[in-house]
Subunit: 335 residues, 2 copies
């Protein structure tokens, strides 16, 4: 039986961190066993707001690929590809742009929010403005049926499906496939400073590539309960990043509960809890770090893997394009 | 010595008429002897405002190609191509969209005017909105140095050159080439009803494919001086479409001047002038009509010519894309 097609991916604008691990990477190591999984490195999308800094994008393609391989996303089970290596994505984008109005894009809540966040002011690049359409091309070029997303990305899937329905209706053929959002069940991992979002620009992230020393330093600097000053004081668990991380990463839930009780009662110092978290994280991420080092040594092999995956997707995309062009009556070579 | 590259083309939304002949086609039969000429059938651009009527576009590709061949644009000297067969045009469009702001597109006078003319109201397709960027991709993919345009299209060339300069500056390499506008010296040919613009929707055009009977009927119905009622009355030349056409098409300028004098003095009937115009047009366009019939009989050969030209342009485009990607650091296959 044919497996359900899933598409996920990342913008290569920085190394991947524990937030990515929890929010998506771990899930991908499971999805690859049950689904036909495509993982896209979205360099073209990254360029929509980094056009004047292409090195940032190109340099991180290799880094992100090493992160993928290190966590166990397996090129034998998953097809990795680089967005810019698939011309059909650009071709579909251009075609889909005729099916969406300017007013519709302006109404997209995700675009609205992100335009504010990025501080474009009046200088919104057209590429950024139209990226929901470009994303519809990413999704439909491989006919993805499932797309794992955060809650805030739901309007993007809605836009994709609107385009799919318009296309199939106008060109009178069920060529494109609607995608279903697979909403991440995992709450967002906060930054080590307690901020809701972990990110490179916020300088509050733990990266998969961090050394043991870096990891230790970051864990020891983590935000806890600012009112928990003396060891004997009772401390708060709520909003205490160290306990949030333990909830996510520690397997021994009983021990975590015991620590929580002790901390709330008083008499348990932050450093002790942090040391336990460090132990937990080190146990989980040291093997990933080691694997990552191995992959990083062989740039040629990693890039070859991406290029081979991209070539496979070119094949898939040509099939989709042939169907799209036939439906639109643009298959001139058929004469 | 390398010839200067010129790019021209048409939207395949209807058969070509005498306005096209005078305004651009005739010029192309000359440019092909002195320039490296590319002629693009802009099906993707035609779809920006015909997305729900793709047959209109695809059906006219063959018709427009027959028009080209009939007037003497020669596939031995000119490279014809179909826009949708060049994926690099879509790829460049997507890249250029990051270099242009939404506000900049909104300021484009040609886009403003055309949005009004087409009556989109609030439903402007994104594809139509961004078409100046797409046009920059058409022009730069073949590194055109000269683009014949009407005065009203000058803002499009300006937008192209802005993109060229931004790209070369940001990516620190003189990859793209600025284009020069070659403004048509010929004033616009009015419709047979005297309206300034000749067009299919206005039902006032003489087509290259019109039969002798259709041509005669159209010439006889042409707009003259509405106050010139009796033969003995003096008639006006100004705004008299028949004389406008004679000025454009008749080689015997002395005879035309004699007719003008006689008409203004009185004693020359409209029908006599029209019969002379018909004679002039028939002499010029009967051979074109005959050649057109021959090409129309061999659809396969004409389409093969377009496909071969398109394949040649794919080759040119891959070279441009390789340079573009290298400048942007996206040439991953180089690993």
């Amino acid at each position: 039986m044919k497996k359900t097609v899933v598409l996920t991916g990342d913008r290569p604008t920085g190394p991947l961190h524990l937030g990515h691990y929890v929010g998506s990477l771990l899930n991908r190591t499971k999805l690859q066993d049950t689904h036909e999984q495509f993982v896209m490195i979205a360099d073209m999308q990254a360029l929509t707001d980094n056009a004047d800094n292409p090195e940032k994008v190109s340099n991180h393609i290799f880094e992100v690929a090493c992160d993928y391989l290190a966590v166990g996303i397996d090129p034998q089970k998953t097809t990795f590809f680089i967005q810019s290596m698939i011309p059909a994505i650009a071709e579909l984008s251009v075609m889909y742009m005729n099916l969406v109005t300017v007013a519709r894009v302006q109404r997209n809540p995700t675009v609205k929010t992100e335009i504010q966040q990025k501080g474009f002011g009046q200088s919104i690049p057209v590429g950024f403005f139209v990226y929901p359409i470009h994303q519809a091309a990413d999704i439909t070029v491989v006919k993805a049926q499932v797309v794992p997303v955060g809650e805030d990305q739901l309007p993007m899937i809605e836009q994709t499906n609107e385009i799919v329905r318009s296309f199939n209706r106008i060109y009178k053929k069920e060529v494109l496939v609607e995608a279903q959002a697979l909403i991440s069940q995992c709450p967002r991992l906060p930054g080590i400073d307690g901020q809701a979002k972990m990110g490179k620009s916020l300088n509050n992230a733990i990266y998969l590539k961090d050394s043991a020393d870096e990891l230790a330093k970051k864990v020891r600097s983590m935000y806890t309960d600012p009112h928990h000053i003396r060891v004997e004081d009772s401390g708060s668990i709520e909003g205490n990043t160290v306990f949030t991380y333990l909830d996510v990463f520690a397997d021994d839930k009983t021990h975590v509960q015991a620590l929580k009780d002790h901390y709330q009662k008083g008499g348990l110092g932050d450093m002790k809890v942090k040391n336990y978290l460090l132990e937990v994280l080190e146990a989980k991420f040291a093997p990933i770090r080691e694997r990552r080092k191995e992959f990083q040594k062989d740039r040629a092999q990693v890039m070859r893997m991406l290029i081979e995956g991209s070539e496979r997707v070119v094949g898939v995309s040509l099939k989709t394009m042939a169907e799209v062009k036939e439906a639109m009556g643009l298959n001139y070579s058929a004469f």
